[in-house]
């Protein structure tokens, strides 16, 4: 392939050699290091291809062998250029083309991001624009290290940035901090350690306590005790007592404990007994379109007077990795008419749907560490809907953190006054 391209670029001739010593002509060529190819025996001689420079060296061989050489065909770029030498605009256009390719390839035409999850490409592009980095800028002006540093400075949760130029594309790869939420929590905890504000653990639902694993703070409930929503479970204020067992102050903590409680909760799930059944017609309306920015060229139309119809389609972007002032895309849309009829679900189907949803609900609870002790959920069918209804007895972790209300320390004098 490459050889053929080179041959075309340099130009070659197809010649016909005839005479009594045609073979001697071939050997003479090889002796003079003239390359011959596509050698074919034809009536009265041979046909072969030869380079232009080789052809110029043929004269002594022809004289020596007494053969006759006739040019059959001229091929290649030099002959093409010679043929069209008077078409000046064509040459000017070709030159301009080469020049434009050369000049354009020295610019950045596309900025590609990868690894961004919480920041969209648009957000990052807008940021880069403020730093004078945009599609169309000169490639030599791109400061990859500078771009990486700017992004890292502006977005603290982007932990790693790499910018590189690949042809006319600026590739920016980044890594966001996945542990941001955890870190935030840690920061909060660290902050609270510096300024210790006590927190309590408060019941977030009604129930009966079944197990307590205290970690920090004073547990105020016992196993078996019933609690209401809002009741204090663990206090973050640990009393400090003196030798007489009098409270002299409080140590402040972040109350923490795992408290499991038996909680009764209700479950209700409803679904319609009826659904719209779509019977599609065989007829469809389809349109193919080419979109350039705000302009759309369509072939066919999906305009219709159907009562009910659905539309589906796709759109694919063209030249996605090049920069254009407008997005160029193509696609198609299909409108399918249907007859709508109101149908009732079969009883078995209703049971199946509601059971599946309830199973999923149970799985979600189990994932949260909730154990289901009892359930009496039943399915009832009404005139329009079917309902899964009932109560569940679950063993669940309870308690949410709330800031403590600071307790006053009663001094001995106050106690005396109260006594008097």
């Amino acid at each position: 392939m490459l050889r053929k391209l080179v041959q075309y670029g340099k130009g070659y001739l197809k010649i016909h050699v005839s005479g009594y010593f045609a073979e001697r002509f071939l050997n003479g060529c090889s002796h003079k290091k003239i390359r011959l190819w596509d050698l074919k025996p034809v009536p009265g001689g041979y046909e072969m291809c030869i380079t232009i420079s080789g052809f110029r060296k043929l004269k002594p061989i022809i004289r020596k062998t007494g053969t006759k050489v006739v040019i059959v065909k001229r091929s290649g770029l030099p002959f093409l250029l010679f043929k069209y030498r008077k078409r000046r605009l064509f040459f000017a256009g070709s030159l301009l083309f080469v020049l434009l390719i050369f000049l354009m390839s020295r610019h950045i035409w596309s900025i590609e991001f990868s690894g961004n999850q919480s920041y969209t490409d648009d957000t990052l592009l807008k940021f880069l624009l403020t730093k004078d980095v945009h599609a169309g800028m000169a490639g030599s002006d791109v400061d990859c290290a500078g771009i990486a540093a700017d992004i890292r400075e502006a977005y603290h949760d982007i932990v790693w940035v790499s910018a590189s130029v690949d042809g006319t594309r600026l590739k920016i790869r980044l890594k966001e901090n996945d542990d941001r939420l955890l870190d935030d929590d840690k920061d909060k905890n660290e902050a609270s350690e510096n300024t210790p504000a006590p927190t309590d653990l408060v019941a977030d639902m009604d129930g009966t306590i079944r197990a307590i694993t205290p970690r920090e703070g004073v547990v105020l409930v016992q196993e078996g005790s019933e609690v209401k929503k809002g009741d204090l479970l663990v206090s973050g204020q640990v009393p400090v007592r003196n030798d007489q067992q009098e409270v002299t102050g409080y140590q402040y903590h972040q109350a923490d404990a795992q408290i499991l409680a038996e909680v009764s909760t209700s479950y209700q799930d409803e679904m319609d007994l009826f659904y719209i059944k779509k019977d599609y017609d065989l007829v469809k309306k389809r349109e193919v379109f080419l979109q350039v920015g705000p302009w759309r060229l369509t072939f066919g139309s999906i305009r219709n007077s159907y009562d009910y119809w659905t539309m589906e389609g796709y759109e694919k972007e063209l030249f996605g990795n090049m920069h254009f002032p407008w997005k160029v895309s193509y696609g198609s849309r299909t409108a399918s008419p249907y007859h709508a009829s109101r149908e009732k679900y079969a009883t078995e189907r209703i049971r199946q749907v509601l059971s599946t949803r309830f199973e999923r609900y149970k799985e979600d609870l189990e994932k949260k560490g909730v154990e289901i002790i009892e359930n009496d959920v039943k399915i009832y069918t009404e005139s329009e809907t079917a309902v899964a209804d009932g109560r569940l007895l679950i063993l669940t972790p309870i308690g949410v953190s709330r800031p403590s209300q600071l307790l006053e320390v009663q001094t001995a004098e106050e106690e005396n006054e109260a006594g008097e």
Partner: protein, 92 residues
């Protein structure tokens, strides 16, 4: 051939372990399947039709017989014959 084998040059080439194509200018034929043949170390073409290519070498004539034979290229060092090769024959 026998004479060739017993020649002094051949003996020296064997003794010195120099490849014979280098030492004695013997032809090298590389045949790929039945459709392609490369030939090195030859003197010249003696005859060429689409059913027969006769090549002169130092050890004599090599006759390539077949159908639709075509010399794809022909240089001082190497030539390539393509087509349907049926026979390769050595003639003194």
């Amino acid at each position: 051939m026998k004479k060739e084998k017993n020649s002094l040059g051949n003996k020296i080439a064997e003794w010195s372990e120099v490849p014979k194509d280098v030492a004695l200018g013997m032809p090298i034929l590389t045949v790929t399947g039945q459709t392609e043949l490369r030939l090195e170390n030859y003197r010249g073409i003696a005859e060429y039709t689409d059913s027969c290519v006769k090549v002169r070498t130092k050890v004599g004539l090599i006759l390539i017989g077949g159908r639709s034979l075509q010399v794809e290229y022909y240089t001082e060092d190497e030539m390539k014959v393509s087509g349907y090769i049926r026979t390769v024959e050595y003639q003194q």
